[in-house]
């Protein structure tokens, strides 16, 4: 991975594309024909790569979108006499709509179930095409006109090939821009940890759906090109085997890696041609080669680069005054309607029942603006369940949660984040295979105001906003002490740094309330000391902190108020000194004297 990152990839790919475009000058029609097959597969694989490589979802029926594009072009040309270019928007639109159709039932499924559902979808599309009269049944459709450009039919193999290269370049630019956009980051975060992505503000259901739609749109475009190339199509071009071939290209090349995907297309489409001399053994040899290549390089031949966006330098980041943490937080506080400035969050009588267990029972408390409030209690007291209810991960069975006067109950986690509550997790949940900087960016991405299209076109407004976000994220990393590690892989950070990155990722969303779930777990005394300082600095910026923690030194040292929970209920509430003196709290932690007497009595009997 590191070796690939040092490689000057961009000039190499451009050089390869120029060479590929110049291929017809020196090659026979046979080579050009194989070349066009490679180009078609490369386009399709770039589309599937969005689903498989970027978003980490599975699609074994991708050929269906290819089919929909091809049949749309064929039908519109033969029935309505549209020309090739006029049919393309319809191909892409129809493929995109079917992306929604396939995406919808699969949204709630785990990846292994996706395999069969997408496979089934692919088969359904193929069987429908084979059985309907309008699609020409098993014989398919023919008499599709070639593309026309500047009054010339694009019919010669070399001309069609150049058209294919042009399409490939367009698709390539599109997927590069997508990969660097907030949507690309959202896909990667989804791939790395879906629940964590949702919890930092990624609308995971919509983002998943968009992966299928974007992949489908590119598949549709590939289908149109295919129809114009051959002038005739039939269902045998859109089989499960075709879907599998495209998937093999993506995984063999290196999922998520654009040069890898193109390399995969060259190998998978070109290798069988190169193996023609062994005749019958060809397919068998290809299968064995595929197994061996995967064994030798499980990540693919050209694995994806880790870093998509570099963090700005310290001077560049501090040159943007509105991207300083203090300015960002002050900005948020200004939005609060005056009557709610005192109490930020009010929890009224919430309960949560698992099976027969009341994990949380009639819990009420309120969080005041600008304080550090801690929830303590023995293991199993229901602290994390309260957190999960507040952040939308779980819904309480009873009670209400009011945020600035409005209810939070029933909102998806990413909606709660957008309202200004951000959290960290008891067990660290970072996006391991993303950089430290991009982890923080994901936390901030829900704050984008410009539309995605503007961002992908890199219009000036979008560039300005992106610049501000990059500067802010870098400053948040600096705030927690990770500025120098911005380019590292998040999964490679030492334990304490991973904890701090989780905090930075949550802060990047500019929450008004930060919920920390056992941030000191596993830290050594020095790390705890610096964590205490960090929590105070967060509060001093103006962000309210709600903390779950077992470390009493930290809790007593940092909290303004403390809530004690035991067996699902609140048993005490007050200042640290009051809590330390409260007999019920001491009983919950150490057992009561009556218990001691019981133990003594038992001892006497024995």
């Amino acid at each position: 991975m590191a070796a690939a990152a040092r490689f000057p990839v961009a000039p190499l790919v451009i050089g390869a594309l120029v060479l590929a475009a110049a291929l017809p000058l020196v090659s026979s029609n046979y080579v050009i024909d194989v070349g066009l097959t490679v180009v078609t597969y490369a386009i399709l694989a770039l589309g599937l790569n969005i689903v498989v490589g970027y978003a980490g979802l599975l699609d074994l029926g991708y050929a269906a979108f290819f089919a929909i594009g091809a049949y749309t072009t064929a039908l519109l040309e033969t029935l309505l006499h549209l020309n090739f270019w006029e049919t393309i928007p319809f191909s892409m639109l129809l493929a995109g709509v079917s992306g929604v159709i396939i995406g919808f039932p699969t949204l709630r499924l785990r990846s292994d179930y996706l395999a069969i559902v997408t496979l089934g979808f692919g088969e359904i599309v193929r069987i429908i095409a084979t059985n309907l009269d309008i699609t020409g049944g098993p014989n398919g459709l023919y008499g599709i006109n070639p593309a026309r450009l500047f009054g010339h039919d694009i019919t010669s193999p070399k001309a069609v090939y150049e058209l294919g290269i042009a399409f490939l370049v367009v698709v390539l630019v599109f997927v590069i821009r997508l990969g660097r956009s907030r949507l690309g980051r959202a896909w990667t975060s989804l791939r790395e940890d879906e629940s964590a992505a949702e919890a930092v503000g990624v609308p995971t259901l919509r983002v998943k759906m968009l992966a299928y739609v974007m992949g489908a749109v590119i598949g549709g475009l590939g289908g149109s090109l295919f129809a114009a190339r051959f002038g005739a199509i039939d269902p045998t071009s859109f089989t499960y085997a075709q879907s599998v071939t495209i998937l093999i290209i993506v995984v063999l090349g290196g999922r998520g890696s654009l040069p890898g995907v193109i390399l995969g297309a060259i190998i998978v489409a070109g290798l069988p041609e190169a193996l023609r001399f062994i005749h019958l053994w060809r397919e068998f040899a290809f299968a064995i080669a595929l197994i061996l290549l995967m064994l030798v390089r499980p990540q693919g031949l050209w694995p994806a680069r880790l870093r998509h966006i570099a963090a700005p330098s310290a001077t560049a980041a501090h040159a943007v005054p509105e991207a300083e943490p203090s300015a960002l937080v002050a900005d948020e506080a200004g939005d609060v309607p005056a009557p709610h400035r005192g109490t930020l969050l009010e929890v009224r009588g919430i309960s949560r029942i698992f099976g027969g267990l009341r994990a949380v029972s009639d819990v009420s408390f309120s969080v005041r603006q600008g304080e550090i409030l801690s929830i303590i209690g023995p293991n199993g007291a229901g602290k994390t369940t309260v957190f999960n209810c507040l952040t939308g991960v779980l819904q309480p069975n009873e009670g209400s949660i009011l945020w600035g006067g409005a209810s939070l109950v029933g909102l998806a986690p990413h909606r709660v984040v957008a309202l200004g509550l951000a959290r960290t997790f008891q067990g660290i949940r970072l996006f391991d295979d993303m950089t430290v900087f991009e982890n923080a960016l994901v936390g901030m991405d829900h704050r984008y105001r410009v539309p995605l299209v503007t961002e992908m076109l890199a219009l000036s407004g979008a560039r300005r906003e992106a610049g501000r976000h990059y500067a802010a994220c870098r400053n948040w990393l600096e705030f927690v002490g990770l500025a120098d590690q911005a380019g590292m892989r998040a999964g490679d950070l030492p334990y304490g740094d991973q904890r701090r990155l989780e905090i930075a990722r949550a802060l990047a969303g500019q929450p008004r309330l930060l919920l920390l779930d056992e941030p000191a777990a596993g830290m050594n005394p020095t790390e705890k000391q610096s964590l205490m300082g960090l929590i105070r600095r967060i509060r001093d910026l103006g962000t309210t902190v709600l903390l779950i923690e077992h470390d009493m030194l930290l809790v007593m040292g940092v909290s303004d108020r403390i809530i004690v929970m035991d067996r699902g209920g609140v048993i005490a509430e007050g200042r640290p000194a009051e809590i330390q003196a409260n007999p019920r709290v001491i009983a919950a932690y150490l057992g009561t004297e009556e218990d001691d007497e019981d133990v003594g009595a038992l001892g006497a009997v024995a």
């Binding site: 499924l109 179930y113 559902v117 359904i124 299968a287």
Partner: protein
């Protein structure tokens, strides 16, 4: 009524194949979380090995009962062995690699098996020797053959045996332990490698039985037969809740019946559309299949 009964028996017969093959998918998935895309082709290999043995024995004029028994046992042993070899060389090195990599090697193994059989046996159909008579009986106007009855009972017996194996033996307990937590099982002193190999052996052997049954029932076998049957069996495993053994059995029978009735009452051209539509519909309502349990994640 007679048509219904006819279709019911036909559906249960094909459902028996699907159930036996679905068990292989589901057991392997339960233990190593791999969708073994080569499993349909393992079934095909089993059918060919059974055919080879049976043809050889038939040529020696062995009584058909003994010949069939030998053919089934040999096909089971050999196919099971092939399953273990595949696991050892193509899957085991990738068990800790990204999930998609191992999926691709499974697809590679599938291609290799198909083309390997193509190279050895050629592209045409092979015909199973007519050892078993096509005789049968008529009940309620439906023509039912002894082969159908034999297949249904044989596969029910195998499923019962598997159930006992998984629940009453040490190896079966080890398998269930692995399915819950492979690392914890290793720490408890279970020879994880051997359990995985046993799982592949048992799954492949069951598929081989289904292969021989298919040969006896339809009489013709082909190198490409593993794809569609494998696909149906995989669908059955997912429908029942992948990783769940009773689910695979039920799923197999449901898919078999669905196929028979949709072919009988609609049209065989639409069978796959109906099967997949039922599957997708079921998963929309119950995302983990009929018998699958919800995986609860701790935050």
């Amino acid at each position: 009524m007679s048509e219904f009964l006819q279709l019911l028996v036909a559906g249960l017969t094909t459902g028996s194949f699907y159930a036996l093959i679905a068990l292989g998918y589901t057991m392997v998935y339960g233990i190593v979380r791999l969708i073994n895309f080569a499993h349909g082709d393992i079934f095909m290999v089993g059918a060919f090995l059974g055919w080879t043995v049976l043809s050889a024995l038939a040529a020696m004029h062995m009584p058909w009962g003994i010949a069939l028994l030998l053919a089934v046992l040999l096909a089971m042993a050999l196919t099971g062995g092939i399953g273990v070899v595949i696991e050892r060389f193509a899957y085991q090195p990738l068990l800790s690699a990204p999930r998609l990599s191992i999926l691709i090697t499974a697809l590679g193994v599938s291609l290799a098996l198909e083309n390997g059989v193509l190279l050895i046996y050629g592209p045409g159909f092979e015909t199973y020797p007519h050892l078993v008579s096509t005789a049968g009986f008529v009940i309620g106007g439906a023509q039912i053959s002894y082969v159908q009855i034999g297949i249904i009972f044989c596969s029910l017996a195998l499923m019962a045996a598997l159930y006992l194996f998984v629940h009453r033996t040490f190896m079966g307990t080890a398998m269930r332990a692995l399915a819950v937590d492979r690392d914890a099982a290793r720490l408890m002193g279970i020879d994880v490698e051997r359990v995985i190999q046993t799982t592949f052996f048992v799954g492949s052997a069951l598929a081989a039985v289904a292969g021989v049954m298919e040969g006896l029932y339809y009489t013709e076998i082909n190198f490409f037969m593993g794809f569609i049957v494998g696909l149906r069996a995989f669908t059955a495993a997912v429908l029942g809740g992948i990783g769940n053994i009773p689910g695979a059995m039920a799923g197999g029978l449901i898919i078999g019946l669905l196929e028979a009735f949709s072919a009988g009452y609609v049209s065989s051209r639409w069978t796959d559309v109906i099967v997949f539509a039922v599957l997708i519909g079921t998963l929309v309502i119950k995302p983990t299949g009929l018998f699958g349990e919800r995986v609860v994640e701790r935050m």
